[in-house]
Symmetry: C2
Subunit: 307 residues, 2 copies
Amino acid sequence: MNKLLIVGTVAFDAIETPFGKTDKILGGAGTYIGLSASHFNLESAIVSVVGDDFPQEYLDLLTDRNIDISGLEIVKGGKTFFWSGLYHNDLNSRDTLATELNVLADFQPKVPQKFKTADVVMLGNLHPLVQISVLDQMDVKPKLVVLDTMNFWMDCALPELMEVIKRVDVITINDEEARQLSGEYSLVKAAAKIHAMGPEYVVIKKGEHGALLFHDHKIFFAPALPLEEVFDPTGAGDTFAGGFAGYITQSENISFENMKNAIIYGSNLASFCVERFGTERMVHLEKDEVIARLQQFKSLTQFDIEI
Amino acid sequence: MNKLLIVGTVAFDAIETPFGKTDKILGGAGTYIGLSASHFNLESAIVSVVGDDFPQEYLDLLTDRNIDISGLEIVKGGKTFFWSGLYHNDLNSRDTLATELNVLADFQPKVPQKFKTADVVMLGNLHPLVQISVLDQMDVKPKLVVLDTMNFWMDCALPELMEVIKRVDVITINDEEARQLSGEYSLVKAAAKIHAMGPEYVVIKKGEHGALLFHDHKIFFAPALPLEEVFDPTGAGDTFAGGFAGYITQSENISFENMKNAIIYGSNLASFCVERFGTERMVHLEKDEVIARLQQFKSLTQFDIEI
Protein backbone atom coordinates (compact mmCIF):
# COMPACT_ATOMS: atom_id res chain seq x y z
CA MET A 1 0.00 0.00 0.00
CA ASN A 2 1.19 3.52 -0.78
CA LYS A 3 1.97 5.87 2.04
CA LEU A 4 0.60 9.35 2.69
CA LEU A 5 2.30 11.58 5.23
CA ILE A 6 0.12 14.35 6.63
CA VAL A 7 1.28 17.30 8.70
CA GLY A 8 -1.30 19.65 10.16
CA THR A 9 -2.96 20.78 13.35
CA VAL A 10 -4.89 18.42 15.60
CA ALA A 11 -6.96 20.75 17.70
CA PHE A 12 -10.03 21.80 19.62
CA ASP A 13 -12.52 23.98 17.78
CA ALA A 14 -15.51 25.89 19.12
CA ILE A 15 -17.83 26.89 16.31
CA GLU A 16 -20.87 29.10 16.08
CA THR A 17 -23.00 29.25 12.94
CA PRO A 18 -26.53 30.58 12.35
CA PHE A 19 -27.69 27.01 13.03
CA GLY A 20 -26.13 26.50 16.45
CA LYS A 21 -22.99 26.43 18.47
CA THR A 22 -20.59 23.83 19.81
CA ASP A 23 -18.39 23.48 22.87
CA LYS A 24 -14.80 22.42 22.29
CA ILE A 25 -14.92 19.67 19.67
CA LEU A 26 -12.35 17.80 17.62
CA GLY A 27 -10.86 19.95 14.87
CA GLY A 28 -7.64 20.88 13.09
CA ALA A 29 -6.38 20.69 9.51
CA GLY A 30 -4.48 17.44 10.15
CA THR A 31 -7.61 15.82 11.56
CA TYR A 32 -9.82 16.75 8.61
CA ILE A 33 -7.15 15.76 6.07
CA GLY A 34 -6.63 12.42 7.85
CA LEU A 35 -10.33 11.58 8.07
CA SER A 36 -10.86 12.47 4.42
CA ALA A 37 -7.82 10.52 3.16
CA SER A 38 -8.90 7.49 5.20
CA HIS A 39 -11.54 6.81 2.52
CA PHE A 40 -8.79 5.55 0.22
CA ASN A 41 -6.73 2.41 0.18
CA LEU A 42 -3.45 3.68 1.69
CA GLU A 43 -1.34 3.92 4.83
CA SER A 44 -1.38 7.35 6.42
CA ALA A 45 0.27 9.09 9.36
CA ILE A 46 -0.39 12.45 10.96
CA VAL A 47 2.56 14.47 12.27
CA SER A 48 1.26 16.96 14.80
CA VAL A 49 1.16 17.92 18.49
CA VAL A 50 -1.51 18.02 21.22
CA GLY A 51 -1.52 18.57 24.98
CA ASP A 52 -2.40 15.94 27.54
CA ASP A 53 -5.85 17.55 27.75
CA PHE A 54 -6.57 15.83 24.42
CA PRO A 55 -9.04 13.00 25.03
CA GLN A 56 -8.13 9.37 24.35
CA GLU A 57 -11.46 9.06 22.56
CA TYR A 58 -10.26 11.46 19.83
CA LEU A 59 -6.98 9.59 19.47
CA ASP A 60 -8.92 6.33 19.14
CA LEU A 61 -11.09 7.90 16.48
CA LEU A 62 -7.97 8.47 14.37
CA THR A 63 -6.38 5.06 14.98
CA ASP A 64 -9.73 3.34 14.29
CA ARG A 65 -9.37 4.74 10.77
CA ASN A 66 -5.91 3.21 10.44
CA ILE A 67 -4.18 6.55 10.80
CA ASP A 68 -0.68 6.13 12.28
CA ILE A 69 -0.32 8.61 15.16
CA SER A 70 3.21 7.70 16.22
CA GLY A 71 4.21 11.16 14.94
CA LEU A 72 1.51 12.86 17.00
CA GLU A 73 3.40 14.22 19.98
CA ILE A 74 1.52 14.49 23.28
CA VAL A 75 3.05 17.21 25.45
CA LYS A 76 2.77 16.43 29.16
CA GLY A 77 1.15 19.32 31.01
CA GLY A 78 0.56 21.07 27.68
CA LYS A 79 -2.68 22.42 26.30
CA THR A 80 -3.98 21.55 22.84
CA PHE A 81 -4.25 24.24 20.14
CA PHE A 82 -7.67 25.91 20.31
CA TRP A 83 -9.54 27.87 17.66
CA SER A 84 -12.94 29.47 17.93
CA GLY A 85 -14.91 31.06 15.12
CA LEU A 86 -18.26 32.68 14.41
CA TYR A 87 -19.80 32.32 10.95
CA HIS A 88 -21.98 35.06 9.51
CA ASN A 89 -25.42 34.48 8.05
CA ASP A 90 -24.32 33.54 4.54
CA LEU A 91 -21.58 31.19 5.93
CA ASN A 92 -19.15 32.74 3.45
CA SER A 93 -17.35 34.84 6.01
CA ARG A 94 -16.35 34.31 9.61
CA ASP A 95 -14.75 36.05 12.55
CA THR A 96 -12.03 34.34 14.53
CA LEU A 97 -13.00 34.70 18.20
CA ALA A 98 -9.96 32.99 19.73
CA THR A 99 -6.68 31.41 18.65
CA GLU A 100 -4.68 29.81 21.46
CA LEU A 101 -1.52 28.28 20.02
CA ASN A 102 -0.58 26.48 23.27
CA VAL A 103 1.63 23.44 22.45
CA LEU A 104 1.76 24.50 18.80
CA ALA A 105 3.99 27.48 19.69
CA ASP A 106 7.12 25.33 20.11
CA PHE A 107 6.19 22.45 17.84
CA GLN A 108 9.12 20.56 16.28
CA PRO A 109 7.64 17.97 13.92
CA LYS A 110 9.10 14.44 13.97
CA VAL A 111 8.36 12.26 10.97
CA PRO A 112 8.05 8.53 11.92
CA GLN A 113 10.83 6.46 10.32
CA LYS A 114 8.36 4.42 8.28
CA PHE A 115 6.90 7.55 6.68
CA LYS A 116 10.23 9.08 5.67
CA THR A 117 9.69 7.20 2.40
CA ALA A 118 6.06 8.30 1.95
CA ASP A 119 4.83 8.46 -1.63
CA VAL A 120 2.82 11.61 -1.09
CA VAL A 121 3.28 14.36 1.49
CA MET A 122 0.33 16.58 2.38
CA LEU A 123 1.53 19.74 4.13
CA GLY A 124 -1.59 21.04 5.89
CA ASN A 125 -1.92 24.64 7.03
CA LEU A 126 0.80 25.34 9.62
CA HIS A 127 3.84 27.59 10.00
CA PRO A 128 5.95 27.28 6.81
CA LEU A 129 9.02 26.40 8.89
CA VAL A 130 7.21 23.35 10.26
CA GLN A 131 6.29 22.37 6.69
CA ILE A 132 9.92 22.81 5.56
CA SER A 133 11.17 20.75 8.50
CA VAL A 134 8.94 17.86 7.45
CA LEU A 135 10.26 17.98 3.88
CA ASP A 136 13.85 18.07 5.21
CA GLN A 137 13.25 14.86 7.17
CA MET A 138 12.24 12.80 4.14
CA ASP A 139 14.70 10.05 3.16
CA VAL A 140 13.53 9.94 -0.45
CA LYS A 141 11.93 12.58 -2.60
CA PRO A 142 8.16 12.00 -2.48
CA LYS A 143 6.32 11.43 -5.77
CA LEU A 144 4.14 14.40 -4.92
CA VAL A 145 4.15 17.14 -2.30
CA VAL A 146 0.92 19.07 -1.77
CA LEU A 147 0.84 22.32 0.18
CA ASP A 148 -2.12 23.99 1.80
CA THR A 149 -1.63 27.39 3.39
CA MET A 150 -3.51 30.56 4.23
CA ASN A 151 -3.35 34.38 4.21
CA PHE A 152 -2.10 34.46 7.82
CA TRP A 153 1.32 33.16 6.70
CA MET A 154 1.41 35.59 3.77
CA ASP A 155 1.02 38.39 6.31
CA CYS A 156 3.40 37.06 8.97
CA ALA A 157 5.94 34.71 7.37
CA LEU A 158 6.06 35.45 3.66
CA PRO A 159 9.79 34.69 3.05
CA GLU A 160 9.46 31.29 4.77
CA LEU A 161 6.22 30.62 2.90
CA MET A 162 7.92 31.40 -0.43
CA GLU A 163 10.64 28.87 0.49
CA VAL A 164 8.13 26.09 1.00
CA ILE A 165 6.11 27.09 -2.08
CA LYS A 166 9.29 26.63 -4.15
CA ARG A 167 9.58 23.04 -2.98
CA VAL A 168 6.07 21.70 -3.60
CA ASP A 169 4.37 20.21 -6.66
CA VAL A 170 0.82 21.25 -5.85
CA ILE A 171 -0.48 24.23 -3.91
CA THR A 172 -4.10 24.46 -2.75
CA ILE A 173 -5.20 27.93 -1.82
CA ASN A 174 -8.47 29.86 -1.78
CA ASP A 175 -9.40 32.54 -4.30
CA GLU A 176 -8.77 35.52 -2.04
CA GLU A 177 -5.43 34.07 -0.94
CA ALA A 178 -4.44 33.42 -4.56
CA ARG A 179 -5.18 37.07 -5.31
CA GLN A 180 -3.18 38.24 -2.29
CA LEU A 181 -0.20 36.02 -3.08
CA SER A 182 -0.07 36.97 -6.76
CA GLY A 183 -1.34 40.52 -6.79
CA GLU A 184 -3.64 39.54 -9.68
CA TYR A 185 -7.44 39.70 -9.62
CA SER A 186 -8.00 37.29 -12.51
CA LEU A 187 -7.59 33.74 -11.19
CA VAL A 188 -6.10 32.67 -14.52
CA LYS A 189 -3.36 35.27 -14.16
CA ALA A 190 -2.99 34.55 -10.44
CA ALA A 191 -2.45 30.85 -11.12
CA ALA A 192 0.20 31.64 -13.75
CA LYS A 193 2.13 33.80 -11.29
CA ILE A 194 1.90 31.20 -8.52
CA HIS A 195 2.99 28.52 -10.97
CA ALA A 196 6.12 30.63 -11.61
CA MET A 197 6.83 30.57 -7.84
CA GLY A 198 7.36 26.82 -8.02
CA PRO A 199 4.29 24.55 -7.99
CA GLU A 200 3.54 22.79 -11.26
CA TYR A 201 -0.09 22.44 -10.24
CA VAL A 202 -2.16 25.22 -8.72
CA VAL A 203 -5.53 24.42 -7.15
CA ILE A 204 -7.71 27.43 -6.35
CA LYS A 205 -10.56 26.69 -3.93
CA LYS A 206 -13.67 28.85 -4.30
CA GLY A 207 -15.78 27.34 -1.51
CA GLU A 208 -19.41 26.98 -2.60
CA HIS A 209 -18.29 28.00 -6.11
CA GLY A 210 -16.05 24.98 -6.64
CA ALA A 211 -12.35 24.55 -7.32
CA LEU A 212 -10.03 25.14 -10.29
CA LEU A 213 -6.97 23.07 -11.20
CA PHE A 214 -4.33 24.83 -13.32
CA HIS A 215 -1.38 23.12 -15.00
CA ASP A 216 0.59 24.44 -17.92
CA HIS A 217 -2.12 26.07 -20.03
CA LYS A 218 -4.74 23.55 -19.02
CA ILE A 219 -7.61 24.22 -16.63
CA PHE A 220 -10.06 21.84 -14.98
CA PHE A 221 -13.02 22.85 -12.84
CA ALA A 222 -14.87 20.87 -10.16
CA PRO A 223 -18.09 22.42 -8.89
CA ALA A 224 -19.19 22.24 -5.30
CA LEU A 225 -22.28 20.05 -5.04
CA PRO A 226 -25.32 22.32 -4.65
CA LEU A 227 -26.76 21.45 -1.24
CA GLU A 228 -30.10 22.22 0.36
CA GLU A 229 -28.32 23.21 3.53
CA VAL A 230 -24.77 23.99 4.50
CA PHE A 231 -24.46 23.59 8.22
CA ASP A 232 -20.82 24.36 9.05
CA PRO A 233 -18.04 25.07 6.52
CA THR A 234 -15.25 24.38 9.06
CA GLY A 235 -12.73 21.92 7.65
CA ALA A 236 -14.16 21.83 4.13
CA GLY A 237 -10.92 23.07 2.54
CA ASP A 238 -8.84 20.54 4.51
CA THR A 239 -11.27 17.75 3.68
CA PHE A 240 -10.95 18.74 0.02
CA ALA A 241 -7.14 18.61 0.26
CA GLY A 242 -7.28 15.25 2.07
CA GLY A 243 -9.51 13.78 -0.62
CA PHE A 244 -7.18 15.11 -3.31
CA ALA A 245 -4.02 13.78 -1.67
CA GLY A 246 -5.66 10.50 -0.65
CA TYR A 247 -6.90 9.74 -4.15
CA ILE A 248 -3.49 10.52 -5.69
CA THR A 249 -1.74 8.33 -3.12
CA GLN A 250 -4.02 5.39 -3.79
CA SER A 251 -3.88 5.70 -7.57
CA GLU A 252 -0.11 6.31 -7.88
CA ASN A 253 -0.77 8.52 -10.87
CA ILE A 254 0.24 12.16 -10.87
CA SER A 255 -0.91 13.00 -14.40
CA PHE A 256 -3.16 16.01 -15.00
CA GLU A 257 -5.95 13.66 -16.13
CA ASN A 258 -5.82 11.79 -12.83
CA MET A 259 -5.66 15.03 -10.83
CA LYS A 260 -9.03 15.89 -12.37
CA ASN A 261 -10.45 12.84 -10.63
CA ALA A 262 -8.61 13.81 -7.46
CA ILE A 263 -10.26 17.21 -7.24
CA ILE A 264 -13.64 15.64 -7.94
CA TYR A 265 -13.01 13.29 -5.00
CA GLY A 266 -11.89 16.26 -2.91
CA SER A 267 -15.09 18.16 -3.74
CA ASN A 268 -17.13 15.05 -3.09
CA LEU A 269 -15.73 14.53 0.40
CA ALA A 270 -15.93 18.26 1.23
CA SER A 271 -19.62 18.22 0.31
CA PHE A 272 -20.23 15.80 3.19
CA CYS A 273 -18.05 17.70 5.65
CA VAL A 274 -20.27 20.82 5.58
CA GLU A 275 -23.47 18.88 6.30
CA ARG A 276 -22.87 18.67 10.08
CA PHE A 277 -20.88 20.46 12.76
CA GLY A 278 -17.13 19.85 12.84
CA THR A 279 -16.01 16.32 11.98
CA GLU A 280 -19.38 14.74 12.83
CA ARG A 281 -20.36 13.87 9.28
CA MET A 282 -16.88 12.67 8.28
CA VAL A 283 -16.60 10.35 11.25
CA HIS A 284 -19.74 8.48 10.22
CA LEU A 285 -19.30 8.64 6.47
CA GLU A 286 -19.64 5.31 4.64
CA LYS A 287 -18.02 4.23 1.40
CA ASP A 288 -21.32 3.70 -0.42
CA GLU A 289 -22.38 7.26 0.36
CA VAL A 290 -19.21 8.56 -1.29
CA ILE A 291 -19.78 6.39 -4.36
CA ALA A 292 -23.41 7.50 -4.68
CA ARG A 293 -22.35 11.13 -4.52
CA LEU A 294 -19.71 10.58 -7.22
CA GLN A 295 -22.61 9.66 -9.46
CA GLN A 296 -24.22 12.99 -8.54
CA PHE A 297 -21.04 14.81 -9.53
CA LYS A 298 -21.14 13.05 -12.89
CA SER A 299 -24.78 13.99 -13.50
CA LEU A 300 -24.04 17.54 -12.42
CA THR A 301 -21.21 18.12 -14.87
CA GLN A 302 -21.13 15.62 -17.72
CA PHE A 303 -22.72 16.52 -21.06
CA ASP A 304 -22.63 15.16 -24.54
CA ILE A 305 -22.24 17.70 -27.30
CA GLU A 306 -20.91 16.38 -30.58
CA ILE A 307 -18.32 18.76 -31.93
CA MET B 1 -36.08 26.04 -40.17
CA ASN B 2 -37.44 26.48 -36.70
CA LYS B 3 -38.49 29.90 -35.53
CA LEU B 4 -37.37 31.82 -32.45
CA LEU B 5 -39.31 34.88 -31.34
CA ILE B 6 -37.37 37.32 -29.17
CA VAL B 7 -38.79 40.20 -27.20
CA GLY B 8 -36.43 42.56 -25.41
CA THR B 9 -34.99 46.04 -25.45
CA VAL B 10 -33.00 47.43 -28.35
CA ALA B 11 -31.17 50.34 -26.84
CA PHE B 12 -28.27 52.70 -26.41
CA ASP B 13 -25.84 51.89 -23.58
CA ALA B 14 -23.05 54.01 -22.15
CA ILE B 15 -20.67 51.87 -20.11
CA GLU B 16 -17.78 52.63 -17.81
CA THR B 17 -15.53 49.87 -16.47
CA PRO B 18 -12.08 50.01 -14.86
CA PHE B 19 -10.73 49.46 -18.38
CA GLY B 20 -12.38 52.35 -20.15
CA LYS B 21 -15.59 54.05 -21.08
CA THR B 22 -17.88 54.21 -24.08
CA ASP B 23 -20.16 56.81 -25.60
CA LYS B 24 -23.65 55.69 -26.56
CA ILE B 25 -23.22 52.29 -28.18
CA LEU B 26 -25.59 49.55 -29.30
CA GLY B 27 -27.11 47.62 -26.39
CA GLY B 28 -30.30 46.10 -25.03
CA ALA B 29 -31.40 42.62 -24.00
CA GLY B 30 -33.13 41.96 -27.33
CA THR B 31 -29.96 42.90 -29.22
CA TYR B 32 -27.70 40.61 -27.20
CA ILE B 33 -30.18 37.72 -27.35
CA GLY B 34 -30.57 38.16 -31.10
CA LEU B 35 -26.84 38.30 -31.82
CA SER B 36 -26.21 35.24 -29.66
CA ALA B 37 -29.07 33.20 -31.16
CA SER B 38 -27.88 34.10 -34.68
CA HIS B 39 -25.10 31.51 -34.24
CA PHE B 40 -27.66 28.74 -34.71
CA ASN B 41 -29.53 27.46 -37.71
CA LEU B 42 -32.92 29.11 -37.20
CA GLU B 43 -35.17 32.00 -38.19
CA SER B 44 -35.41 34.72 -35.56
CA ALA B 45 -37.29 37.96 -35.05
CA ILE B 46 -36.92 40.70 -32.45
CA VAL B 47 -40.03 42.47 -31.18
CA SER B 48 -39.00 45.80 -29.71
CA VAL B 49 -39.12 49.55 -30.12
CA VAL B 50 -36.60 52.32 -30.88
CA GLY B 51 -36.77 56.04 -31.71
CA ASP B 52 -35.83 57.55 -35.04
CA ASP B 53 -32.49 58.51 -33.45
CA PHE B 54 -31.51 54.84 -33.82
CA PRO B 55 -28.90 54.54 -36.59
CA GLN B 56 -29.56 52.57 -39.76
CA GLU B 57 -26.14 51.00 -39.28
CA TYR B 58 -27.38 49.24 -36.13
CA LEU B 59 -30.53 48.03 -37.88
CA ASP B 60 -28.36 46.69 -40.72
CA LEU B 61 -26.18 44.91 -38.21
CA LEU B 62 -29.25 42.94 -37.06
CA THR B 63 -30.65 42.21 -40.52
CA ASP B 64 -27.16 41.16 -41.74
CA ARG B 65 -27.46 38.34 -39.19
CA ASN B 66 -30.82 37.30 -40.68
CA ILE B 67 -32.76 38.69 -37.75
CA ASP B 68 -36.28 39.71 -38.82
CA ILE B 69 -36.91 43.26 -37.54
CA SER B 70 -40.43 43.71 -38.94
CA GLY B 71 -41.57 43.66 -35.28
CA LEU B 72 -39.06 46.37 -34.32
CA GLU B 73 -41.17 49.52 -34.21
CA ILE B 74 -39.46 52.81 -35.04
CA VAL B 75 -41.26 55.71 -33.34
CA LYS B 76 -41.10 58.91 -35.38
CA GLY B 77 -39.72 61.75 -33.28
CA GLY B 78 -39.13 59.29 -30.42
CA LYS B 79 -35.90 58.70 -28.53
CA THR B 80 -34.42 55.21 -28.05
CA PHE B 81 -34.20 53.68 -24.57
CA PHE B 82 -30.91 54.65 -22.92
CA TRP B 83 -29.06 52.96 -20.05
CA SER B 84 -25.79 53.99 -18.49
CA GLY B 85 -23.81 52.03 -15.92
CA LEU B 86 -20.55 52.18 -13.99
CA TYR B 87 -18.85 48.90 -13.04
CA HIS B 88 -16.79 48.65 -9.86
CA ASN B 89 -13.25 47.31 -9.75
CA ASP B 90 -14.15 43.63 -9.42
CA LEU B 91 -16.78 43.92 -12.23
CA ASN B 92 -19.21 42.01 -10.01
CA SER B 93 -21.25 45.03 -9.05
CA ARG B 94 -22.35 48.14 -10.87
CA ASP B 95 -24.19 51.39 -10.35
CA THR B 96 -26.87 52.48 -12.78
CA LEU B 97 -26.08 56.07 -13.71
CA ALA B 98 -29.05 56.73 -15.98
CA THR B 99 -32.17 54.97 -17.21
CA GLU B 100 -34.18 56.90 -19.80
CA LEU B 101 -37.18 54.83 -20.86
CA ASN B 102 -38.13 57.16 -23.75
CA VAL B 103 -40.10 55.19 -26.39
CA LEU B 104 -40.16 52.15 -24.11
CA ALA B 105 -42.59 53.90 -21.74
CA ASP B 106 -45.61 53.33 -24.03
CA PHE B 107 -44.39 50.26 -25.89
CA GLN B 108 -47.11 47.96 -27.22
CA PRO B 109 -45.38 44.92 -28.73
CA LYS B 110 -46.63 43.64 -32.09
CA VAL B 111 -45.63 40.11 -33.04
CA PRO B 112 -45.12 39.70 -36.84
CA GLN B 113 -47.69 37.31 -38.32
CA LYS B 114 -45.03 34.82 -39.38
CA PHE B 115 -43.70 34.51 -35.84
CA LYS B 116 -47.09 33.93 -34.19
CA THR B 117 -46.29 30.26 -34.76
CA ALA B 118 -42.71 30.44 -33.41
CA ASP B 119 -41.35 27.21 -31.93
CA VAL B 120 -39.57 28.96 -29.09
CA VAL B 121 -40.31 32.31 -27.46
CA MET B 122 -37.56 34.11 -25.56
CA LEU B 123 -39.00 36.78 -23.31
CA GLY B 124 -36.06 39.07 -22.58
CA ASN B 125 -36.00 41.43 -19.63
CA LEU B 126 -38.86 43.93 -20.02
CA HIS B 127 -42.05 44.90 -18.19
CA PRO B 128 -44.00 41.69 -17.43
CA LEU B 129 -47.10 43.13 -19.12
CA VAL B 130 -45.14 43.43 -22.38
CA GLN B 131 -44.02 39.82 -21.98
CA ILE B 132 -47.63 38.69 -21.34
CA SER B 133 -48.88 40.63 -24.36
CA VAL B 134 -46.41 38.76 -26.58
CA LEU B 135 -47.59 35.39 -25.25
CA ASP B 136 -51.22 36.45 -25.81
CA GLN B 137 -50.51 37.19 -29.47
CA MET B 138 -49.25 33.69 -30.26
CA ASP B 139 -51.48 31.65 -32.60
CA VAL B 140 -50.17 28.30 -31.35
CA LYS B 141 -48.65 27.33 -28.05
CA PRO B 142 -44.85 27.47 -28.47
CA LYS B 143 -42.86 24.31 -27.73
CA LEU B 144 -40.90 26.29 -25.17
CA VAL B 145 -41.21 29.70 -23.55
CA VAL B 146 -38.12 31.08 -21.80
CA LEU B 147 -38.32 34.06 -19.45
CA ASP B 148 -35.53 36.34 -18.35
CA THR B 149 -36.31 39.00 -15.77
CA MET B 150 -34.68 41.02 -13.00
CA ASN B 151 -35.07 42.33 -9.46
CA PHE B 152 -36.48 45.66 -10.73
CA TRP B 153 -39.77 43.94 -11.68
CA MET B 154 -39.89 42.06 -8.37
CA ASP B 155 -39.78 45.43 -6.65
CA CYS B 156 -42.19 47.31 -8.93
CA ALA B 157 -44.50 44.84 -10.69
CA LEU B 158 -44.52 41.63 -8.67
CA PRO B 159 -48.17 40.57 -9.35
CA GLU B 160 -47.69 40.99 -13.11
CA LEU B 161 -44.34 39.20 -12.92
CA MET B 162 -45.94 36.26 -11.09
CA GLU B 163 -48.52 36.06 -13.90
CA VAL B 164 -45.87 35.71 -16.58
CA ILE B 165 -43.77 33.31 -14.44
CA LYS B 166 -46.84 31.03 -14.27
CA ARG B 167 -46.96 30.83 -18.06
CA VAL B 168 -43.36 29.99 -18.93
CA ASP B 169 -41.44 26.71 -19.15
CA VAL B 170 -37.99 28.05 -18.31
CA ILE B 171 -36.97 31.00 -16.15
CA THR B 172 -33.43 32.39 -16.20
CA ILE B 173 -32.57 34.56 -13.24
CA ASN B 174 -29.43 35.46 -11.32
CA ASP B 175 -28.57 34.11 -7.87
CA GLU B 176 -29.48 37.24 -5.92
CA GLU B 177 -32.76 37.54 -7.81
CA ALA B 178 -33.56 33.88 -7.15
CA ARG B 179 -33.01 34.53 -3.44
CA GLN B 180 -35.20 37.63 -3.53
CA LEU B 181 -38.01 35.92 -5.46
CA SER B 182 -38.05 32.80 -3.26
CA GLY B 183 -36.98 34.13 0.13
CA GLU B 184 -34.52 31.23 0.34
CA TYR B 185 -30.74 31.58 0.64
CA SER B 186 -29.92 28.06 -0.57
CA LEU B 187 -30.16 28.01 -4.36
CA VAL B 188 -31.44 24.43 -4.24
CA LYS B 189 -34.36 25.53 -2.06
CA ALA B 190 -34.83 28.72 -4.08
CA ALA B 191 -35.10 26.72 -7.31
CA ALA B 192 -37.68 24.39 -5.75
CA LYS B 193 -39.85 27.34 -4.71
CA ILE B 194 -39.57 29.03 -8.11
CA HIS B 195 -40.38 25.72 -9.78
CA ALA B 196 -43.61 25.68 -7.72
CA MET B 197 -44.49 29.13 -9.16
CA GLY B 198 -44.78 27.60 -12.63
CA PRO B 199 -41.57 27.01 -14.61
CA GLU B 200 -40.58 23.37 -15.06
CA TYR B 201 -36.98 24.43 -15.59
CA VAL B 202 -35.15 26.97 -13.44
CA VAL B 203 -31.80 28.35 -14.60
CA ILE B 204 -29.85 30.30 -11.98
CA LYS B 205 -27.05 32.46 -13.41
CA LYS B 206 -24.08 33.08 -11.13
CA GLY B 207 -21.99 35.27 -13.45
CA GLU B 208 -18.32 34.34 -13.22
CA HIS B 209 -19.35 31.36 -11.06
CA GLY B 210 -21.36 29.68 -13.81
CA ALA B 211 -25.00 28.64 -14.11
CA LEU B 212 -27.22 25.96 -12.61
CA LEU B 213 -30.11 24.19 -14.35
CA PHE B 214 -32.77 22.67 -12.07
CA HIS B 215 -35.54 20.31 -13.19
CA ASP B 216 -37.46 17.93 -11.02
CA HIS B 217 -34.78 16.69 -8.61
CA LYS B 218 -32.04 16.92 -11.19
CA ILE B 219 -29.31 19.57 -11.31
CA PHE B 220 -26.80 20.41 -14.00
CA PHE B 221 -24.00 22.94 -13.70
CA ALA B 222 -22.15 24.85 -16.42
CA PRO B 223 -19.08 26.79 -15.29
CA ALA B 224 -18.12 30.13 -16.71
CA LEU B 225 -14.92 29.79 -18.70
CA PRO B 226 -12.03 31.15 -16.59
CA LEU B 227 -10.69 34.13 -18.56
CA GLU B 228 -7.48 36.11 -18.29
CA GLU B 229 -9.46 39.30 -18.56
CA VAL B 230 -13.08 40.25 -18.32
CA PHE B 231 -13.53 43.56 -20.04
CA ASP B 232 -17.23 44.38 -19.76
CA PRO B 233 -19.94 42.10 -18.31
CA THR B 234 -22.79 44.05 -19.98
CA GLY B 235 -25.09 41.72 -21.90
CA ALA B 236 -23.50 38.48 -20.67
CA GLY B 237 -26.76 37.25 -19.10
CA ASP B 238 -28.74 38.06 -22.24
CA THR B 239 -26.10 36.44 -24.45
CA PHE B 240 -26.33 33.35 -22.24
CA ALA B 241 -30.14 33.32 -22.61
CA GLY B 242 -29.85 33.82 -26.37
CA GLY B 243 -27.44 30.91 -26.69
CA PHE B 244 -29.72 28.73 -24.60
CA ALA B 245 -32.86 29.60 -26.57
CA GLY B 246 -31.05 29.49 -29.91
CA TYR B 247 -29.64 26.03 -29.32
CA ILE B 248 -33.02 24.67 -28.18
CA THR B 249 -34.74 26.18 -31.23
CA GLN B 250 -32.23 24.66 -33.63
CA SER B 251 -32.25 21.23 -32.01
CA GLU B 252 -36.03 20.91 -31.49
CA ASN B 253 -35.41 18.95 -28.32
CA ILE B 254 -36.65 20.18 -24.98
CA SER B 255 -35.38 17.26 -22.87
CA PHE B 256 -33.32 17.89 -19.75
CA GLU B 257 -30.35 16.19 -21.41
CA ASN B 258 -30.49 18.58 -24.34
CA MET B 259 -30.94 21.59 -22.06
CA LYS B 260 -27.56 20.68 -20.54
CA ASN B 261 -26.03 21.30 -23.95
CA ALA B 262 -28.06 24.49 -24.27
CA ILE B 263 -26.64 26.00 -21.09
CA ILE B 264 -23.12 25.01 -22.15
CA TYR B 265 -23.75 26.87 -25.43
CA GLY B 266 -25.13 29.80 -23.45
CA SER B 267 -22.02 29.90 -21.24
CA ASN B 268 -19.80 29.54 -24.28
CA LEU B 269 -21.34 32.51 -26.09
CA ALA B 270 -21.39 34.62 -22.90
CA SER B 271 -17.67 33.99 -22.43
CA PHE B 272 -17.03 35.85 -25.69
CA CYS B 273 -19.43 38.68 -24.89
CA VAL B 274 -17.41 39.86 -21.86
CA GLU B 275 -14.13 40.05 -23.78
CA ARG B 276 -14.88 43.45 -25.35
CA PHE B 277 -17.10 46.47 -24.71
CA GLY B 278 -20.78 46.09 -25.48
CA THR B 279 -21.64 43.98 -28.52
CA GLU B 280 -18.21 44.43 -30.15
CA ARG B 281 -17.04 40.85 -29.67
CA MET B 282 -20.39 39.29 -30.57
CA VAL B 283 -20.64 41.24 -33.80
CA HIS B 284 -17.36 39.79 -35.06
CA LEU B 285 -17.65 36.31 -33.59
CA GLU B 286 -17.02 33.45 -36.03
CA LYS B 287 -18.45 29.94 -35.95
CA ASP B 288 -15.05 28.27 -35.65
CA GLU B 289 -14.25 30.31 -32.55
CA VAL B 290 -17.42 29.04 -30.90
CA ILE B 291 -16.58 25.44 -31.80
CA ALA B 292 -13.01 25.77 -30.49
CA ARG B 293 -14.28 27.12 -27.21
CA LEU B 294 -16.80 24.26 -26.89
CA GLN B 295 -13.76 22.00 -26.82
CA GLN B 296 -12.39 24.13 -23.97
CA PHE B 297 -15.64 23.66 -22.04
CA LYS B 298 -15.29 19.91 -22.49
CA SER B 299 -11.70 19.90 -21.24
CA LEU B 300 -12.71 22.13 -18.35
CA THR B 301 -15.46 19.87 -17.05
CA GLN B 302 -15.24 16.31 -18.36
CA PHE B 303 -13.58 13.63 -16.26
CA ASP B 304 -13.45 9.89 -16.30
CA ILE B 305 -13.86 8.19 -12.95
CA GLU B 306 -14.96 4.60 -13.07
CA ILE B 307 -17.63 4.01 -10.46
